[in-house]
Amino acid sequence: MPERQWKNKRRLMKPVNKRKNTRPNTSFKSELKRRFDMWLLQHLQAFIFSLGQFAKYPLSSLLTSAVIGISLALPASFYMLFDNVRFVSSSWDGSVQVTLFLQTEINDEQAATFANKLKDNKNINETTFIKRADALAEYQKLSGFADALNALDENPLPNVILVKPELNNINESDTEALIKELEAMPEVDAAQYDSQWFKRLLYLLDIVNRVIIILSTLLAVGVLLIIGNTIRLSIYNRRAEIEITKLFGGTDSFIQRPFLYSGLWYGAFGGIIAWLLIGISMQLLRGPVKQLANLYASDFQLIGLGFFNSLLLVGTGIALGLFGSWISVKRHLRDIDPV
């Protein structure tokens, strides 16, 4: 009897080459190949079968995937927002600058020479002189107060010099000292140091970053629970099938394979849905953000997910899906014995 079984298996075997096949004994290599072929075949079956299950119950599969998609989209979009803010702020980073408002009686030439003179100071890296007329023109263009400004007899704006301190030796007290020194100069009306709000922004971003990490972790756990529970339900729905499969010699890995692939599909579709949601949101935000950037004379544009991050998003979905179903399968498949 076992001989007959063996022959059946032999017949299934694909010969590696003709010469080897004429040997009476199965070579180790061809046995390995047969096993590999079988393994591949069974994976393919589980892969297609689990996809078939999706097609069979499209609505419930879609709903589960959508929940996963939203759970993935939330932290991903927060992170993207954060990324954009960081990108914007990084262009300010290191550009800690002091704005000097000059006395109104200082004319343009005097201001220009003063700006050049300041460069000799060893604590100052760079100075930029903005003529009052230029400042007014820009302000009229961007503020929308053009008419009101035209009504004025003379330019209310002073000449301005932007001073960039030497970056290497910048620290709190040095900067304070520099501001005091500048403010004491007779040409200067007021010196304004813009770093306080920038520091606050950096701390704020740090907090937001942590919030995003916490939120992502919670939502990832949520995704695991959703997928775990969905797989648990489908394990119990297919209890009869699992029992029969065990009875006819299905190994544990054979039985769990379709469930693992289902988890993979849920995660993958969830990732794709998340990607779509973010893509749509981006399109909705692009216009308003562009207008806002124009107001700040910036050509800033929203940074999208990009290829790598899209891949990462879907990959995260797949990983969570596989992991969630794996936990569920390990916990619940053991409970089912053939009766």
Binding site: M1, P2, Q5, Q42, K246, L247, F248, G249, T251
Partner: protein
């Protein structure tokens, strides 16, 4: 093929299902196991299929000592066995083809081979035209025959049937038993648990009667007894 030596089976709840059972069934034999419900018929089949493990004694199936079959080898061991149930236990959401092909899919056969064998098995139980139907649309007798086809499609060495005719009328029961006989004739060792004593007496095969976990009587055709003594000796 199947040898029980001083086998005891006590379930976790203390129920002694089999007591000191000794039994030998030769390769290619066809044996009926009968007795009242609770006598240990199902337990006997469950032990052979390693659904449960016996608590004492020795069981050797197909040359394998069941004590030595580790849990992770049980699936491979079961691939030599075909099962039949009273409630046929077909998967309602799969076609007849998928139901019958299941043991072959499990064993990793290729699709062409599966199709060939499923067709052959369904042809044997005269259900080839129903290959693409769902079990729901079949009659009780047809469903049972699908179960038979599934039990033999992977050409098992042993066929275990637990009350296979419990839900069938006498004519259908007789046909089913005759089917088992055909499989037996091509070399499959067949074990059938049944309480339909009238019918199995007419089938002229070896009958083992269990009572409270022991063998009460042992009746068989002379030819088979002969075969049995030959193998034992």
């Amino acid at each position: 093929m199947i040898r029980f030596t001083n086998v005891n089976m006590t379930y976790a709840d203390g129920n002694e299902a089999l007591r000191n059972l000794n039994l030998h069934i030769a390769q290619g034999a066809m044996v009926y196991i009968t007795g009242r419900s609770g006598a240990g018929k199902s337990t006997l089949l469950r032990l052979i299929a390693l659904i449960d493990r016996h608590t004492r004694g020795q069981i050797i199936i197909n040359g394998q000592n069941l004590d030595r079959v580790r849990n992770n080898r049980i699936p491979l061991f079961r691939r030599h066995i075909g099962f039949m149930f009273q409630d046929h236990r077909l998967l309602q959401d799969r076609t007849v083809f998928d139901n019958v092909g299941l043991p072959l899919v499990i064993a990793g056969y290729r699709h062409q081979e599966i199709r060939k064998r499923v067709q052959a098995a369904l042809d044997k139980v005269s259900l080839l035209p129903k290959i693409n139907s769902y079990p729901m649309s079949l009659s009780g007798g047809e469903q049972q025959r699908v179960g038979v086809a599934r039990a033999v499609v992977h050409r098992p060495a042993i066929l275990l049937a637990d009350e296979p005719t419990g839900n069938l009328d006498p004519a259908l029961s007789w046909d089913t038993m005759k089917l088992f006989e055909q499989f037996n004739q091509v070399g499959v060792t067949v074990l059938i648990a049944s309480h339909d004593l009238d019918m199995i007496k007419r089938l002229q095969k070896r009958i083992i009667t269990l009572k409270s976990g022991r063998i009460l009587t042992h009746a068989g055709t002379p030819m088979e007894k002969q075969a049995q003594t030959n193998e034992t000796g």
